[in-house]
Symmetry: C2
Subunit: 140 residues, 2 copies
DNA sequence: GTTCATGCAAATCGTTTGCACAATG
DNA sequence: CATTGTGCAAACGATTTGCATGAAC
């Protein structure tokens, strides 16, 4: 689980190489801006004027599958809603995607402590725990 | 900022009431499943066979705007990608939507401690700090 | 040469919006 | 009655996919 493993692109993957994917990875590695697919496409387009969004998405997806890059968000395209507006944290099952509330008090001071340590002015924080829910765990 | 304010629906809002929105809120309050708009629609459809997704989205949006329910996700429809696959946390600017990495060590033990306290088997956690980035703060 | 990746265009999916009509205050 | 909400359908934007061609091994 602790992916302290090699981060190198030429790691033991079954992916064939392509100049486009190589560049996509270089582009991602060369920025700290957590870009969108659109932005990556814009960058890639300078070198491959005929590249298509399909190629960008396919490659991003593959890089994510192989653990070479990360997708930020909830995975699913659709949003979820909840009536509990009190600050609280979530547990997300990586198997079935279900989301449950953590019945744990929120440490408000963590916002300030983390924010100060990181040098940003934060007003709140949210923690997401990831793992396998009891339901999925039961099914092996 | 700390919305410890009233949670009641009939709070001082300028919203007119509607039977559909009342039910949507009841549905959200009656589940712990963090449903999608689609799911809410399915529920609502039993009572309002002619209800449309447009109504569901409009009402969910309004309930969110009024702070009566919360939307989980990143707000933006599009995903973001990053090459940094080492576990780390993020700061999200609520003004411009920019995402930056927190240059703060990850407390791995928090996964276990939070997971145990909440009674779930978690393998990792991610913290998101929310606030206003330096850039936006400068612009007033 | 067989497999995988590409470009292109069309399709899909969640969400938003314009409009005429109905419900609310 | 002035305004807001509704249903319907069409529009939208991000992402995915089918297909014929081209690159990788």
């Amino acid at each position: 689980m602790s992916k302290t493993k090699t981060t190198r692109y030429d790691a033991p993957t079954k992916m064939r190489r392509s100049r486009q994917r190589d560049r996509i990875l270089e582009i991602l590695r060369g920025t700290k801006s957590h870009p969108t697919a659109e932005w990556v496409y814009g960058r890639l387009h300078r070198e491959f004027p005929h590249v298509s969004m399909g190629t960008v998405y396919r490659n991003l997806g593959q890089l994510v599958e192989h653990g070479i890059v990360k997708r930020i968000g909830f995975g699913s395209t659709f949003d979820r809603y909840e009536a509990n507006i009190l600050t609280h944290h979530h547990f997300v099952c990586e198997r079935c995607g279900s989301v449950t509330d953590l019945e744990v008090p929120v440490d408000e001071s963590l916002t300030r402590r983390l924010g100060e340590a990181a040098g940003v002015r934060a007003v709140r924080h949210e923690i997401r725990l990831y793992g396998t829910c009891a339901n999925c765990a039961r099914k092996g």
